[in-house]
């Protein structure tokens, strides 16, 4: 793919400047939508495009918009720019380098949702984007009459506000995000009711990812059909893949959905350093099922259905590549420590379970555990499954369960009764003999 869509700034210098953006047809889609289309027509066009949510769940965007409770106003649009998943760094580039395309997408979405206010919720670490980039741009847009009251002579009014979070992974969950905007503790709400019915301030609300809304601009600039020229039937469009880990050229790559993992790693990422063999890959950042990089997986098409068929999730397409030197026990310690730290504490299984898993994993990694502890870890992870209030708990166990399943030997190697020790010394130690293990209680 020669030309970028979402990462258009790589082809057109200074597209982050309003005048340059306008020279390239900027905000015409928004004007066209506001002056010539009904909100329903916009929703229909986005539905026709088959655009799916880029934040992780892959839910059809147009369909989501059509769920807004009828005749209930005011409505809100909130953009999920929390980008808190480890290994994800696409939204930052989109907002930093191609901000107008993103904001135009937000505006079109707001019009489609018949909302007059939109909030862009960013993680606290994005303060520089809010203060140095988006803030001044929004001020500019208001001055130019692209935001404000009675836009383009119609009775439609819109304003957009940036909102900074305070550094919590959970605020990337849509209802926790809404709580956070409302000034409350970032904890997820019960669903149902869904935001489309009772969202921000209990009003119908659209919550979409930054990248999703950047796509909306392209769809409305051109057409749903044009958008569908990339990607697959069920996963149309391009996707920004965040490639990181053991690759020679980590970074964001905008590729059509359906590209194979092998192409991504070797053709675009330049392969692994030192020509090492890949061992495993995580496709959705820290909250991924860890997949062993068999040929089957390397040749897997990266779209929502193909990945799901392998028992994993494409998620935000944050591809972390690990070479053969990576220890799965160490990897799960890292992810579990993260999720334990980020568990909001609202529901019991996640709050207590991540804490428990971390304790066991620390023992394993300190070589102080037995094989039975690895079994216990597996049990605790299973015990969390399907009991949590929000997906965070499920995210936390995905790398643990899949690593134990696929790379059990990595864990056992840390255990006292599973490590391949050098041949015992000729003379037994004078200390206490090791306790005799009941074979029935030992896992494996």
């Amino acid at each position: 793919m020669g030309e970028h869509i979402l990462l258009r700034h790589r082809d057109i210098p200074d597209i982050d400047k309003l005048d340059v953006y306008i020279q390239h047809g900027g905000y015409e889609a928004f004007k066209k939508v506001v002056t010539t289309m009904t909100p329903g027509q916009v929703i229909d066009e986005v539905k026709a495009s088959g655009l799916r949510g880029r934040g992780g769940a892959g839910f059809p965007t147009g369909v989501k918009w059509s769920f807004l409770t009828k005749d209930s106003f005011p409505r809100y649009v909130t953009v999920n720019s929390d980008e808190s998943e480890p290994g994800t760094f696409k939204d930052r580039e989109l907002m930093e380098k191609n901000p107008h395309q993103f904001l135009e997408g937000v505006m079109i979405t707001a019009y489609a949702a018949r909302a007059n206010v939109a909030y862009n919720y960013m993680r606290g670490e994005f303060w520089d984007i809010a203060v140095k980039i988006l803030g001044p741009i929004l001020a500019d847009l208001r001055q130019r009459g692209i935001l404000g009251k009675n836009l383009f002579g119609t009775d439609y009014s819109l304003d957009i506000f940036n909102h900074l979070g305070a550094g919590a992974y959970i605020c990337g969950e849509e209802t926790a995000l809404l709580e956070s905007i409302e000034g409350k503790l970032g904890q997820p709400r019960l669903r149902p009711p869904f935001p489309a019915d009772k969202g921000l301030y209990n009003k119908p609300t659209v919550v979409n990812n930054t990248e999703t809304l950047s796509n909306v601009t392209y769809i409305m600039q051109h057409s749903a059909a044009k958008f569908r020229e990339n990607g697959t039937e069920k996963s149309p469009g391009t996707k920004v893949f965040c490639l990181s880990g053991h690759v020679n050229k980590p970074g964001n790559y905008e590729l059509p959905l359906g590209v194979t993992l092998r192409t991504l790693i070797y053709e675009h990422g330049g392969g692994l350093p030192g020509d090492k063999k890949p061992k495993a890959v995580m496709l959705a950042g820290a909250s991924s099922t860890v997949l062993a990089t068999t040929d089957d997986i390397l040749d897997m098409a990266l779209d929502y259905e193909s990945v799901a068929a392998k028992g994993a999730m494409l998620g935000s397409a944050s591809v972390i590549v690990m070479d053969e030197t990576v220890d799965a026990a160490w990897l799960t310690l890292k992810t579990t420590r993260f999720f334990k730290h980020e568990s909001c504490g609202k529901c019991t299984p996640c709050r207590e379970g991540t804490y428990w898993m971390l304790n066991v994993l620390e023992r394993v990694n300190k070589n102080e555990a037995m094989k039975a502890d690895v079994d216990l870890l597996n049990t605790v992870a299973n015990q969390i499954q399907n009991k949590c209030l929000c997906p965070l708990g499920e995210f936390a166990i995905a790398p643990v369960l899949s690593s134990i399943k696929t790379f059990r030997a990595d864990f056992d190697a840390h255990t006292k009764d599973g490590a391949k020790k050098p041949a015992p010394a000729a003379k037994p130690s004078a200390a206490k003999p090791p306790p005799k293990k009941d074979p029935a209680s030992v896992g494996d």
């Binding site: 503790l185 334990k340 980020e342 504490g345 019991t348 299984p349 709050r351 207590e352 049990t379």
Partner: protein, 806 residues
């Protein structure tokens, strides 16, 4: 009333109103789905995950929408892939719930095990031990052993005052907290005090308070009842007793006219061998206090065991009060009464029971004398005619009901009424708050009415159009700034409005007086009236449970004064005979609440010293004075009341003790479900019928409105936490009782060059008061608010005053 929905829970069919949650539906058929975070009085949050159940729904044909059936013709049920929380799930027709399958049993065990991984094993020293939902549910559902390594347990602070160590009423044990958010939700949803909340996240999540003083809520103690573990304890009760050592006695709160149902928990002291009250707990009465009580009721019991209590009768000899025998004093009082020639006055306070007041009235009237109630609020006779209709319940008021509250700061005067009025407003009732100044009730009011003190009747008349469209109308009036004449006029105006709009004699309609004392209504019913014109100089005066000298209100001087009291009050110090009375906790009796609910309380501790019940004292004096044999028990006095007082006809101690099943099901063995509020097994009381309820004609009358004070006025206001004779003995509450202060408007303060906190001199009726001034925006311009019973002079009513900088 609403649509019923039929569903099956473990194959048992149950019918419940639409909107019922599965957990509550199961409760109806005694299927106890375990919960920690869920509470039937709070909105569900689904946090603890203890109530997971299997949920099946009838399958439908996708094309036709028809229900699918199996070979037997039963509907096909599709069960979800995951378990669902029964506490967040409203019932649906045809739903099938499974609560005892292997998956559900395993899920319960799993969740308990998770909770216990970071819960300390300090049950042997935990106040909740023995009545702890977590303990009970662990026994029933938990794993026998833990797979969590003890050394990996998290350790957190165990003694965190919610406030400062000096003023905290509630202590938090962070380790024990299972983050169920019942306390924070109670404060937010029920009490409306947004003063505690969660801080941090994950296992570090902790309850913090962000008010000054800490946990600044009049209902804070309730959080310790609904806390499902020992994380929240009261400063008063922590480490005082184990729950299984406590005996329960049903009682009624005597601090205000709401009449909250209580349980007094007593324990025999190892040192004295006597029973002592260890704590006061709410007793469920959905029509009165539901399962809540205020902190005054909860912590204000220490006077009962105060070392300052009067223990022996005393008689004045050689100018000194000296201990005497009952025979001696009773004979002397009887003799004085006989020789008084009808110049006898009985003055009583509304703290006393119906039996006390009836006996006093009978005694005094028997000698041709007069009785009076120590109160400046009028209108008790109107309440008997057009009071809140029988069957009224603040808990059922909502859309269509208009509630007018006038001349009362309800939160300070009757906190649980405030709570229930607030909730009615949140359910959609139209609340109109009328006062001379802002009160906390304004937050929930659809309409706020401000008037100049003295203009209450005009303000009320101005509401006629606002209440026109109400289906139901309740008017609650207080006596803020009013004396007897003013409050009587206001009561009449309220009654007129109710009568003219035909809002009398029906449930959820009628008049409520926010009385100063718990049994003021009972006193009216027993025939006592507030003193309108003082008897010039009675020969004999009996003062019971009133302290006019201490309150510095005008009191007739008698030749011979008898005082029955708990403490040596200022009035008692001047008396010729002082008789030691029992508190309500030492005897039985009845009180009539502001809603005219006659309720029984029962003895819980043995009487101190030689104390006798007031009714007993009056009956015995009567016997010695030749009025007939003294009644031997309160029940017999009540039988006399039922014979004599028309409204009480047909009532008996038996009828007052009747109970029926109350929803939600809390208390008793279900403590894990609703917390440690107590099941009511001792009586719900009976609301007596008003004249309007009985279908008698009621008519309006023109109120006689006294003249309005001119210029700057000093207005007496009520504070819940004051220096009242009984309440002040609860030292735990002292940090919450303010130093004497007055409130002044910022404009007035600016004119006088006074800033917040400065001392001012206030002169009213020729007396000068020195107090710190608060310039906090509550006092209207031209008025100085003077909280009563803080140690400053008492004011009868809003009076002309002058203020200067001290």
């Amino acid at each position: 009333m609403t649509d019923l929905i039929t569903l099956k829970i473990d194959d048992v069919e149950v019918q419940v109103p639409k909107g019922t949650l599965v957990v509550d539906a199961a409760k109806r058929i005694n299927n106890d789905i375990p919960v920690f975070c869920y509470h039937p009085k709070l909105d569900p949050v689904g946090m603890c995950r203890m109530c997971l159940v299997e949920v099946g729904r009838p399958q439908r044909d996708r094309a036709t929408g028809q229900l699918l059936t199996d070979e037997q013709g039963n509907p096909k049920i599709a069960y979800g892939a995951k378990l669902d929380t029964a506490c967040t799930l409203p019932v649906e027709p045809g739903m099938h719930i499974r609560t005892s399958t292997a998956d559900v049993t395993a899920a319960r065990k799993d969740v308990v095990e998770f909770i216990l991984t970071s819960h300390p094993l300090d049950c042997p020293i935990c106040d909740k031990g023995g009545e702890c939902p977590l303990q009970n549910l662990t026994m029933r559902h938990g794993p026998g052993t833990s797979r969590f390594i003890f050394g990996e347990k998290i350790h957190l602070d165990k003694r965190v005052p919610l406030g400062t160590p000096d003023n905290a009423l509630i202590y938090l044990d962070r380790e024990r907290c299972i983050q169920c958010a019942r306390c924070t939700r109670f404060s937010d949803e029920i009490a409306g005090d947004h003063v505690i909340g969660f801080y941090e996240r994950g296992r570090k999540l902790e309850i913090v308070t962000f008010s000054e003083p800490g946990f600044d809520s009049k209902f804070s103690g309730n959080t310790t009842d609904i806390c499902p573990v020992g994380a929240l304890t009261t400063a008063d009760f922590r480490f005082q007793a184990r729950p299984w050592e406590l005996r329960n006695s049903a009682s009624i709160c005597t601090h205000c006219p709401v009449g909250c149902n209580l349980h007094l928990n007593t324990r025999r002291s190892g040192l004295s061998g006597k029973f002592e009250i260890k704590r006061v707990m709410p007793r469920q009465n959905e029509q009165v206090n539901e399962i809540w009580i205020c902190d005054k009721g909860r912590f204000g019991h220490h006077y009962i065991s105060s070392p300052d209590r009067l223990l022996s009768p005393m008689i004045r000899k050689n100018g000194q009060l000296q201990d005497a025998t009952w025979d001696e004093v009773l004979d002397q009082v009887a003799a004085k009464l006989k020789n008084a020639g009808g110049s006898v006055l009985g003055l009583a306070g509304g703290r006393l029971s119906n039996e006390d007041l009836f006996s006093l009235n009978k005694l005094i009237i028997g000698f041709g004398g007069h009785t009076a109630l120590a109160s400046r609020l009028g209108g008790g006779d109107l309440i008997q005619k057009v009071g809140l209709g029988v069957g009224s319940n603040f808990g059922t008021m909502g859309k269509g009901t208009t509630i007018v509250v006038i001349a009362s700061d309800l939160e300070e005067e009757a906190p649980v009424w405030w709570l229930r009025v607030k909730q009615a407003a949140e359910r959609g009732a139209t609340l109109i708050a009328a006062n001379g100044r802002p009160t906390k009730l304004d937050r929930y009011a659809k309409q706020k009415v401000r008037y100049a003190y003295g203009d209450e009747v005009n303000a009320l008349d101005g509401l006629a159009s606002a209440v026109e469209k109400a289906d139901n109308l309740v008017i609650m009036y207080g006596g803020e700034g009013l004396d007897l004449a003013g409050s009587t006029a206001l009561a009449q105006a309220c009654a007129n409005l109710l009568i003219s709009t035909k809002h009398v004699g029906k449930p959820n309609n009628g008049l409520v007086a926010v009385w100063e004392r718990a049994n003021d209504q009972g006193a009216w019913d027993m025939g006592l009236r507030p003193m309108s014109e003082a008897m010039s100089k009675p020969a004999v005066m009996i003062v019971a449970a009133a302290d006019p000298a201490g309150d510095a209100v005008s009191m007739p001087k008698a030749d011979f004064t008898v005082v029955t009291e708990l403490f040596l009050t200022a009035t008692a110090k001047e008396a010729d005979v002082v008789l030691p009375a029992q508190t309500f906790a030492e005897r039985d009796g009845t009180l009539t609440s502001g809603e005219r609910r006659v309720q029984r309380y029962y003895p819980s501790v043995l009487p101190l010293g030689q104390c006798r019940a007031d009714w007993q004292i009056f009956q015995q004096i009567g016997e010695r004075a030749g009025q007939g044999k003294a009644k031997a028990g309160a029940a017999l006095v009540f039988a006399d009341i039922a014979r004599t007082v028309p409204q009480y006809a047909g009532l008996s101690y038996q009828s007052l003790a009747k109970v029926e099943k109350q929803l939600p099901d809390v208390g008793g063995l279900d403590l894990y479900y609703g917390g440690t509020a107590f099941e009511n097994t001792a009586g719900l009381g009976v609301q007596y019928a008003t004249s309007a309820d009985r279908g008698e004609a009621v008519s309006t009358a023109t109120p006689t409105v006294p003249a309005k004070p001119e210029g700057m006025v000093a207005v007496p206001t009520t504070l819940l936490y004051d220096r009242g004779t009984t309440f002040y003995r609860s030292y735990v509450m002292h940090p919450r009782i303010p130093m004497p202060f007055v409130e002044i408007n910022s404009a007035d303060a600016a004119k006088l060059n006074i800033i917040d906190g400065e001392t001012i001199m206030l002169s009213v009726n020729g007396t000068e008061v020195k107090a710190a001034a608060r310039v906090d925006g509550r006092a209207p311009e031209g008025a100085v608010l003077v909280p009563q019973s803080l140690g400053m002079t008492m004011l009868e009513k809003a009076s002309a005053a002058s203020v200067r900088k001290a």
